[in-house]
Amino acid sequence: MKFPADCVYTKEHEWVRVQEGAAIVGITEHAQKELGDVVFVELPKVGDTFDTNETFANVESVKAVSEVFCPVAGEILEVNDALSESPQLINDDCYGDGWFIKLKIADVAELKDLLNHEEYAEFVAEESAE
């Protein structure tokens, strides 16, 4: 599985990529594989604000609904509207076209609490071994 080095990660399997001071957020390859075929995504609205670990989206596969948690607090600058028509982008390209939201980060210091790609890969390996 791929965990790009330019992202940081949560133990709830979200990734964050910081670009021009904003955070792009999506779910990891591990998460999309666990979900299976994604058929529906419920996204927030631009301007909504979320606390750290607050649910900002729901992603639905054929068999279940999963919450997606906000890795760092902030305000929604943009949502990936393409997911409404093509939710399978999350399966096809979870680190690219399958992104969820762009977030204005309230406190950049929070990013330090997240895992780097190596730490996250280790975490996934441990979790899968259980």
Binding site: H13, A31, E34, G36, D37, V39, F40, E42, N58, E60, S61, V62, K63, V65, E127, S128, E130
Partner: protein, 369 residues
């Protein structure tokens, strides 16, 4: 995300499923394959070609002896006396209150030998239940461990299976069975399934499981046969509106409510639950199982509230996306007064009330050939 699998039972094909990369999860106390290549792909394969399911978790109970039929007639609500040798009947075990203990398949091998296929999660409960009711000259034997069960389902199922077996499969009508051989292996072959497609279910010695699985997969490779898991089995049975114990049918629902009146034969003599069913027929039911289709954006799922005029009036028993129909569908209990086709309801999807409509079921019926 990973559910603990310690202490779960494993079918004889467990390690093969893992080798195939199946995602495994708990179902009815068993560690079962949920999906291999993806639920949507597997679902469509069964509708258009064929899929192979390991359903060895299902329970089997043998009833033998001169009064086998009397015992079966007492504990089930359908009329097993109408069965001929090698015929199969969908039926149910009911409580004295007329609610479900389980839904089952009754196979008549001969006048003094019947074979029941029951749900995995209920197998031991059903066995104890039948034993407790056995005031007859009949022997009840728990034989689940003696069988692996595979379901080969889909329009190509007959073509795939035929070259491997000793008998002419076209001779087996829907809900009938024959004994045959796969190579030198004795096999019970039934024309049944839980997908809404044509297909067969095979019962045989668990020791032969990997061999049979591999033979079938090889025989079906040119016809598009793929391994299919319990995820697709669930979406397939939902489209075909087949009930699932714990969802549409429970010990809180009766056949009248569950739209399964055809399974009840009140004219067959006494059986458990009959008095309660007659009484409920007189007073009338309050809730009824219906099919719905989401009209607004959102997916109504198991356990979600059904709203009528903004008030909770029912509950979704099974719901989700329909891979074949490409709609979001489901089954729900609603008040009888609001159960007509076309009626508007709402499903409470998290924070939103999403419009839905009561529609005709089954959602999917296979084309007649």
């Amino acid at each position: 995300m990973n559910s603990p699998t310690v202490g779960l039972r494993k079918t004889a094909l467990h390690s093969l499923h893992k080798k195939l990369g199946a995602r495994m999860a708990e179902f009815g106390g068993w560690d079962m394959p949920i999906e291999y290549s993806g639920i949507i792909q597997e679902h469509l394969a069964v509708r258009t070609a064929a899929g192979l399911f390991d359903i060895s978790h299902m329970g089997e109970i043998l009833i033998e002896g001169p009064e086998s039929l009397r015992l079966i007639q007492h504990v089930t609500c359908n009329d097993a006396s109408r069965l001929k040798d090698e015929q199969i009947q969908y039926s149910a075990l009911l409580t004295p209150e007329g609610t479900f203990v389980d839904d089952i398949l009754v196979h008549r091998f001969s006048a003094d030998r019947y074979f029941l296929c029951v749900n995995a999660s209920n197998a031991e409960k059903d066995f104890d239940w039948i034993c407790d009711q056995n005031a007859f000259d009949a022997e009840v034997v728990y034989v689940s461990d003696q069988y692996s069960q595979l379901a080969l389902q889909g329009p190509k199922a007959l073509n795939i299976l035929q070259p491997l077996v000793s008998i002419d499969l076209a001779d087996i009508k829907y809900y009938w069975l024959k004994r045959g051989k796969i190579g030198d292996l004795d096999c019970l072959i039934t024309r049944t399934g839980y997908t809404g497609e044509d297909g067969f279910e095979l019962y045989f010695d668990p020791d032969a499981s990997e061999r049979v699985w591999t033979q079938l997969m090889k025989a079906g490779s040119g016809d598009g046969l793929i391994p299919t898991g319990l995820g697709a089995r669930n979406t397939l049975r939902l489209e075909a509106k087949m009930a699932l114990y714990g969802h549409e049918i429970t010990d809180q629902t009766t056949p009248w409510e569950a739209d399964l009146a055809w399974v009840v034969k009140l004219d067959k003599g006494d059986f458990l639950g009959k008095e309660a069913l007659i009484k409920q027929k007189g007073t009338g039911i309050q809730k009824k199982l219906v099919g719905f289709e989401m009209v607004g954006k959102g997916i109504g799922r198991d356990g979600y509230p059904v709203l009528i005029n903004g008030q909770q009036a029912g509950v979704v028993t099974s719901g989700g996306p329909s891979p074949y129909l490409k709609k979001n569908i489901g089954l729900a209990y609603v008040p009888v007064s609001h159960s007509d086709l076309g009626k508007e309801i709402e499903i409470q999807v998290r924070t939103q009330a999403v419009p839905a409509r009561i529609v005709k079921t089954p959602f999917y019926t296979r084309p007649t050939t």
